[in-house]
Subunit: 341 residues, 2 copies
Amino acid sequence: MASSIHDLARHLNISIGTVSRALNGRADVNADTRQRVLDAAAKLNYSPNQSGRSLRRGTTHSIAFMLQPHPGDQQYGEPFFIPFLTGLQAKLAESGLDLIVVMGAPGDYQQERLRRVVETRRADAVVLAYTRREDERIDYLTRVGFPFATLGRSRSGGKTYPSLDLDFEKAGADAVDRLVARGHRRIAAIRPSLNLNFGYLFLAGYRKALRRHGIEVDPELIAKGFINEAGGDAVTPQVMRSKDPPTAIIFNNDAMALGGCKALAEMGIKPGHDIAVIVIVDTPLCRYFSPALTGFRPRLEPMGRRLAEMLLASIPAFAGPEGARIIREVWPLELIARDSD
Amino acid sequence: MASSIHDLARHLNISIGTVSRALNGRADVNADTRQRVLDAAAKLNYSPNQSGRSLRRGTTHSIAFMLQPHPGDQQYGEPFFIPFLTGLQAKLAESGLDLIVVMGAPGDYQQERLRRVVETRRADAVVLAYTRREDERIDYLTRVGFPFATLGRSRSGGKTYPSLDLDFEKAGADAVDRLVARGHRRIAAIRPSLNLNFGYLFLAGYRKALRRHGIEVDPELIAKGFINEAGGDAVTPQVMRSKDPPTAIIFNNDAMALGGCKALAEMGIKPGHDIAVIVIVDTPLCRYFSPALTGFRPRLEPMGRRLAEMLLASIPAFAGPEGARIIREVWPLELIARDSD
DNA sequence: TGTGTTCTCGTAAACGTTTACGGAAAAACG
DNA sequence: CGTTTTTCCGTAAACGTTTACGAGAACACA
């Protein structure tokens, strides 16, 4: 069906070795024959079989991103990742690398699927997201010595891999500062599991800022829920029923915020009017919600590009002349002030 | 690094041929040795190198979905696809197939990337979305005889491939019916390029329903824009400035609707109050918008599962005993009534 | 003319699998 | 015990590449 290098060689009456060398730009081939090979390849539109090439080279020329939908979030989706993937793809393509997204089932922790990708050598490196504070995926990859990079930090694995994260700690603190400046003293925080590192960082920033302002951290105002709409819905009433209810709530996540606002509305409390609401990670949903939610916007597409650069720089086979370097960066989150606070 | 079948054979003192046969469940291997092989494989956690296997078998055991972000839509994302991919993945996994998502750059028509996937044999079949009325991707795939399925119909390629589509024609008609029942006679339609087949179908349904109600189709009330927020924003004022302005607008797409509502607001027209608005494809954004937009909801996750079934049934190598069948289905869109009409 | 160098290409091995084939041993059967 | 069948396994080729090696031809140089 597809033409192989043998077809090409037969067609040109030269050996497959020469054809291969010509196509791969090696020096020891006559300029004339190289041109003939290139022409013939274009004419028969030959492209090398990826399996054959990978097998021989030991490299797949592709990078895998592990995407795992949140459970119980069917109609919602992950608008977060598309711009990020767009940037990642664009930068990888500049180096001739393909990006493949490996879909997981909602809720599994990717461990099995990751092992499959690694052990069957489907990609030369992987990119992980949703890093956990202790992340077995990172432990595994460092243990077997497979190249990877992460969107998000973790305590696992040491400083042996590139990572790019958002400054959730500062965003948490900024949110508190902003609310305190507007006269709030009772500020609640709705967060996901602290295993998720961004939840941990957010809460750390929140706490630190409260103390800085001389406000005691009240455990009753901190609630943990699933990182989806149902989670925000379920947990928000809990903090509202505390003895001294909050006048402001910071949500760690847009989906939780939307669920939380729904719960508030059912309790007759109007966000932006009766209570201030801030969301840490802004998504388009925040903009269109009513009231439009104040939040912190990440620059996802540039982050994708940057993480691709960092990943490539960390792999000797892909790195430029200066050799492999491990880069770790934390990017700021930009406050987008809207109507909810 | 990763253990090969040779390591396994050496460790067990048997030939690689026997190891392979044992692992692949062939009959001509002793039950005892099979067990020993299986145990050793688990112990050394061996898994077959995908490149080697693909090369020999001529099959990759993976299906590619071509995902292409819309241009100028960076912060928006494609919430549409995640649930669909989740369903697709789930069903493919049941047959031991991997789903890989091939990212394209925004705006290119995938033709080049599709050729790469096909010619380098990265997947055994591909799934396309955003089918066009005349779709060169479909022409190409049928021409080279590469298995595929589409989310969406097309005039290209005949009835030779499985396809699953939504009934945009009926949704367009239903929207008109609903608006007419509420007394509207001047109903505008904002649509993308008619190359996009769902735009074509929608408009056909819209026209047919208007005629059925004895309402003349007014070209001034039909406008075409880019299928994103900017498109809706740019084109909506156009229909509002017609001599006899509409009292209702049907948007083909949620992003266009949001842009359109923004434009309406700037003209001092309140959707849901001064004008009725209906969106054909409902997404979470419609639910959270204010006013909440009436729209038609697709069942994306089941659609993903179904299309996976249909694709597998169409490929002899994967099909069950009854052999390959081409299935084409059109699924209904369910009206979700909200506040905008 | 003899020797060394450079240019160009063919040969063949290797990557890790799967599988057709054949053969030795065991089992079945007379 | 001889013959046939069955069971099980090893051998080797094949999938499509890349690349180390070597060899022939052309060329330069003394």
